[in-house]
């Protein structure tokens, strides 16, 4: 049984339905600049929700609000609700660090610790969360590397520095690092935009595997990537939701003319 399948089995006994994210009336600002206006969207468990839209439309801000990263920017503000498992992650008694553990994030540029070994990179986040034995760390590292579809390529070079891996492998190493802390949701901000086509397809396949256990939210500039991997697609413009629906519907017969114009290239 592969690592992915092992976790899938485990997930069957878990209540995946509780991994739903609901965003209501979300507004976000950078100082006096409003980046999001009354955004409402739902990310279903065991599915990929992609967010598309032109640069500056608020895609990244939206996912950074979903795991409370937005507030880390000086002068940033948020209002509205983000419910995870029915609970508002912005409620006063919620610990943002715990939110970020349960709702993990992968960024555009692969950013492994370049001199740290592959094995240690995969559990770098986990080490910060708590104390684990060397054996347990090794086990969790292997599990995460398997889940990220990287194990077979690196199992004989676990002690090499992470910076020595190829770009695509480094990105999967970062995905492993995000998975090692056992999140329930994976936010991916342009995870393949810095990769070559083969590595990109590799990541897209991996996303398809991961969605069986995680709620995946994917920000992408690559509309064909959204069409290939997402079950649901959200189109944003000027910080607002234009249209949200099944990907098949968005890419064959969207309801809103602005969506049609954007995805058919009649709009810059």
């Amino acid at each position: 049984m592969s690592g992915v399948e092992a976790v899938r089995q485990e997930a069957l006994t878990d209540d995946l339905g509780s991994r739903r994210i609901e965003v209501h009336d979300l507004n976000a600002w950078f100082g006096s600049l409003q980046a999001l206006g009354d955004v409402a969207v739902v990310a279903e468990p065991q599915s990929v929700t992609s967010i598309i839209g032109p640069s500056g439309c608020g895609k990244s801000t939206l996912i950074r609000c979903i795991n409370r990263m937005h507030e880390e920017v000086l002068g940033a503000r948020v209002s509205g609700k983000v419910l995870f498992d029915g609970q508002d992650i912005y409620a006063p008694d919620v610990d943002p660090v715990e939110v970020r553990r349960r709702i993990g994030m992968v960024f555009q540029r692969a950013n492994p610790f370049p001199t740290m070994s592959v094995l240690d990179n995969a559990v770098a986040g986990l080490k910060m969360v708590g104390r684990l034995s060397r054996g347990e760390l090794r086990r969790r590292s292997e599990q995460a590397l398997r889940q990220a579809g990287l194990w077979d390529e690196v199992k004989d070079r676990l002690d090499e520095p992470g910076g020595k891996l190829s770009g695509g492998q480094q990105q999967r190493l970062c995905i492993a690092r995000a998975l090692a802390v056992e999140p329930e949701v994976l936010l991916m901000d342009e995870p393949a935009s810095a990769l070559d086509p083969a590595s990109t397809l590799r990541i897209e396949e991996l996303i398809q595997d991961l969605k069986t256990q995680f709620t995946v939210v994917l920000v992408t500039h690559n509309m064909q990537q959204a069409a290939r991997v997402a079950d649901w697609t959200l189109f944003m413009l000027y910080g607002q939701v234009v249209e949200f629906g099944p990907t098949r519907k968005i890419f064959t017969s969207p309801d809103d003319k602005r969506t049609e114009d954007y995805i058919t290239g009649r709009f810059g």
Partner: protein
């Protein structure tokens, strides 16, 4: 509005124009094939057969260019539906061209046989409706006219009715073996015209999909025939 895919959209417009030209050629061929049949005009029948190469060339050209667009431009949304509509309509029109050729061959084969005025008038009536349907379907495509597309199944009803009556009419010609031989051929012509009507309805379905994004058959083989 900033147009970021101008070449692609220009090519889509050019393909649509080519399909419409193909529709005109197919309709003209159909009209001439019936004229050749009624007037027993061998030269006209030969001309229809020879000119079908033009329809076939257009069909192949459109097909190739559509495949290129799919491979290189990955059309989506309205563009995708238009590419799909062009691909299907192209195929339907090429078939109508082939039906005109079939009727022309029958025209040549039946030149020496006697004719029955009632059967012939019914064939002509079917042909008139079929041509009108074909023009309506291509026009509905050009003008993005959903109402016209939805009207096609109703236009098709009299053709189906005449086609079903044709068999009985031909059986009625059995008193004269040569007249019967002609009648059997006319039954085949009626069948070709009925197929032209069906192709026009199918084109209407493509127009409806293009405009609404919903797939549905206006009629199907299991649909109960209207009286």
């Amino acid at each position: 509005m900033l147009e970021t895919r101008k070449r692609f959209h220009d090519e889509l417009a050019a393909l649509q124009a080519e399909v419409m030209a193909e529709g005109q050629l197919a309709e003209r061929a159909l009209g001439r094939s019936i004229e050749a049949l009624v007037r027993k005009d061998k030269d006209l029948a030969d001309r229809v057969i020879a000119e079908d190469d033009e329809v076939d060339d257009k069909y192949m050209d459109v097909e190739r260019r559509v495949i290129d667009l799919l491979a290189m431009q990955t059309p989506v949304a309205g563009d995708l539906r238009l590419v799909s509509a062009i691909m299907h309509i192209n195929m339907h029109l090429e078939r109508v061209g082939d039906m005109a050729v079939n009727i022309s061959k029958i025209a040549k084969a039946t030149r020496e046989l006697p004719t029955d005025p009632t059967v012939l008038s019914h064939v002509e009536e079917m042909a008139d409706i079929a041509r009108s349907m074909l023009l309506t379907s291509v026009d509905a495509f050009a003008r993005r006219d959903l109402e016209a597309a939805l009207a096609l199944p109703r236009m098709d009803d009299p053709i189906d009715h005449l086609n079903r009556g044709m068999y009985r009419e031909v059986v009625g010609l059995a008193r004269d073996p040569r007249l019967l031989e002609w009648g059997v051929q006319m039954n085949m012509v009626a069948r070709q015209l009925e197929r032209v009507g069906d192709n026009a309805v199918d084109i209407g379905e493509q127009v409806a999909f293009l405009l609404t994004g919903e797939f549905r058959e206006f009629t199907d083989a299991s649909h109960p025939p209207s009286p």
